[in-house]
């Protein structure tokens, strides 16, 4: 069990990296708290697997250090790190039984047979594998196999962290939920640091207490699922998390007013000195943009043209245009709309201003 510290970590696969474009992983400073449930979220190619491999010791970083508690393990090989990893495709030792699979890491470390026995039984009970302990591992389903590879990590009492590399990729949809709740439950019971790599926001947001969003080799935001949703620190986070993603519109901002295609919008916060020459955007989630029939909206409204309304089960989403700019809005239940003209209500407290992609905090008005 350990706290994992990334100290000015960066990695380039090629030799002699010149500029930032050569780095698969740009400089990162981060502390993974002992016992935390983390998700590392980002699209493929964002560097999350590289980061995972650095933590597990399969890749030695070009620069920086990695510490387990206060021990520098930057160059310590995988087997010396006490971490466990569950891979995208289930890895089990085909010729062994489930019991032998679970005992394998302990046997390799020359643990006494009696200890191995009790430990394997314990972990099998925890993962609900007791029934299949004496079956050959290669004849089991993918989710069982993933549990076995997880079990091989858990069976070691000294394990510092468990890393998951997109572990649900090959699991049947109806079993994904089950396996994920097993993971959450284990996390509550065992006080282990877990790092879960995925490109699926639902998986990340449901699993983790803290989500680290990566984009293009860099961490763009670290926060709780709520923070990522309410205050995306970067337009990428706003766009990537939530479905559909955040509405982003080019805007001119003066003081507490934003102007989009000639429509002035009052803001809840004050932006006195925005950097000059940067791309200024206004971001607001569809969940905070409501469509009402023309002339019926309360308070401040914006006139829009409705292009299409999609019914996606629990809610209705409207594709609208504001002065030619497309955006997505929510339609309240029971609300009926005629024609293409409608009014838009925005929640000013949920509007964020971004300069070149980064959130501008602003001042309380």
């Amino acid at each position: 069990m350990a706290r994992i510290t990334l100290d000015h970590l960066a990695h380039a696969y090629g030799p002699n990296p010149q500029g930032p474009q050569d780095y698969a992983l740009k400089e990162i400073d981060h502390v993974w708290r002992q016992g935390g449930a983390y998700a590392l979220l980002g699209p493929s190619g964002c560097g999350k697997s590289t980061l995972l491999n650095i933590i597990s010791g399969l890749v030695v970083p070009t620069r920086g250090r990695i510490l387990f508690d206060d021990r520098d393990v930057t160059t310590v090989p995988t087997e010396g790190r006490n971490i466990a990893q569950v891979f995208q495709f289930p890895v089990v030792y085909d010729t062994m039984t489930v019991r032998e699979n679970l005992a394998f890491p302990l046997k390799n470390r020359r643990v006494a047979p009696a200890t191995i026995r009790s430990r394997v039984e314990e972990i099998a009970g925890l993962l609900d594998l007791t029934r299949v302990l004496d079956r050959r591992a290669n004849n089991l389903t993918a989710d069982m196999k993933q549990k076995i590879s997880l079990g091989r990590g858990l069976v070691r009492p000294d394990v510092a962290a468990i890393l998951f590399d997109e572990p649900l990729t090959v699991i049947d949809p109806h079993l994904k939920w089950q396996l994920r709740s097993t993971l959450k439950e284990l996390h509550r019971k065992l006080d282990l640091t877990m790092i879960y790599v995925t490109h699926d926001q639902t998986e990340a947001l449901t699993f983790a207490d803290t989500v680290v969003v990566m984009h293009d080799g860099a961490v763009v935001q670290t926060g709780t699922p709520d923070e990522l949703f309410e205050r995306p620190a970067h337009t990428f986070v706003g766009h990537f998390i939530g479905s559909p993603g955040m509405n982003l519109l080019p805007a001119e901002v003066r003081g507490a007013t934003a102007t989009i295609e000639g429509h002035a919008i009052p803001l809840a916060r004050h932006y006195p000195d925005l950097p000059k020459g940067k791309r200024i955007e206004l971001g607001v989630r569809p969940e905070y943009v409501h469509l009402t029939p023309k002339g019926l909206g309360k308070g401040f409204t914006l006139p829009v043209q409705v292009r299409r309304i999609d019914d996606i089960g629990r809610q209705r989403l409207a594709r609208v245009e504001l002065g030619g700019r497309p955006l997505v809005a929510t339609v309240a239940e029971g609300q009926s709309l005629d024609g293409t003209e409608a009014a838009l209500t925005l929640d000013p407290r949920q509007i964020h201003i971004y300069a070149d992609g980064a959130l501008v905090p602003g001042e309380a008005a």
């Binding site: 597990s56 995988t78 085909d94 394998f104 890491p105 389903t141 079993l175 939920w177 709740s181 969940e287």
Partner: protein, 325 residues
């Protein structure tokens, strides 16, 4: 993958069937025909029933003794070369460089002996091992080992076995290498995390994954060594004496050398039958291994399914209930 039942597929197989039947069935009929007849020359044949077979399978007759001698000799040879080539081939495959240009370099050099005409393989070892002009022969004699493969049966055997190892180990190695290449990296990473030693990795990951190709390798090597003809024929001509007269050499001597058609035909059939049965055993084992790999028992408890269904709403709450905020 289940296949569609379609009897018209026979039409697609027909050309192959016709050609192979023409090349295999017709000649075999001739052989069967010869095997039950005797001749006094002049193309006059008469019925001899199973006479040739009785003689062949009777170790006390001269012909039977000769057949069993070559059979045991051949089996011993096959056993020796399998015992050497399989472990050596695995070792070579494990020693292949991981990546880079040297991979192609090693592969090309390794495959080279496989594409040399078999008689040239014999020639290469002839000029290499002769004690007068060969590097190996004269070197051994110079360091005081009395080595002459044309004179001593032991030397002839050592030379032929070494030649076969030289010729065919690469086949085993390349097959094993192909098997090793198919193992995903995650297996090695998992094994490192589990603290497995090199030996444990070999036993638990590499060997099981190579099992299939190893079966093919053993099958091919057994069959080919059981039919070996050209290389020892060029190198030793079956000698000294009959020391390296393997089944095929004996058969060709009998059929094309002595034109003893009846005996040769009987021997051909028995020879073929042995090979066919060994082949069948391998084929059965191999199909079973395949079937074993493919059957994934999709047994999951009804209880699991119910639990999965139960946990579904709980897990969906977070993203969709955002908008209420």
């Amino acid at each position: 993958m289940t296949k569609t039942v379609n009897q018209k597929a026979w039409l697609l197989v027909l050309p192959v069937f016709a050609v192979v039947a023409f090349s295999a069935v017709l000649p075999l009929m001739t052989v069967v025909n010869y095997s039950v007849q005797d001749t006094f020359g002049n193309n006059q044949f008469f019925w001899n029933g199973l006479g040739w077979f009785q003689e062949l399978l009777d170790p006390t007759s001269q012909f039977g003794e000769r057949f069993f001698d070559s059979l045991w000799r051949n089996l011993l040879f096959s056993a020796i070369i399998l015992a050497i080539e399989v472990p050596l081939g695995i070792a070579v495959a494990l020693s292949m460089p991981r990546e880079g240009r040297s991979v192609a370099f090693c592969l090309v050099l390794m495959a080279l002996p496989l594409l040399i005409p078999w008689n040239v393989v014999g020639t290469i070892w002839q000029v290499f091992a002769r004690s007068d002009i060969g590097l190996l022969g004269s070197f051994l004699n110079r360091i005081g080992i009395d080595y002459n493969y044309a004179g001593s049966a032991l030397a002839a055997w050592v030379t032929i076995v070494t030649m076969d190892v030289w010729h065919w180990t690469s086949l085993v190695a390349l097959l094993c290498y192909a098997g090793l290449k198919s193992i995903p990296d995650a297996y090695y990473q998992a094994a490192r995390i589990d603290g497995a030693s090199q030996w444990a990795i070999f036993r638990t990951i590499q060997l099981p994954k190579m099992r299939r190709v190893l079966l093919i390798a053993v099958l091919l090597r057994f069959m080919d060594s059981f039919m070996i003809y050209t290389e020892p024929f060029v190198l030793t001509g079956g000698g000294p004496g009959n020391a390296t007269t393997f089944l095929s050499i004996d058969l060709v001597k009998l059929a094309l050398g002595q034109f003893d058609l009846g005996r040769a035909a009987a021997m051909s059939l028995v020879y073929n039958l042995i090979i066919l049965s060994v082949c069948w055993v391998f084929y059965t084992v191999m199909t079973n291994v395949d079937a074993g790999n493919r059957t994934v028992l999709t047994e999951s408890d009804p209880a699991d399914a119910a639990a999965a269904a139960g946990s579904l709403p709980q897990a969906t709450t977070i993203p969709l209930d955002r908008r209420a905020a």
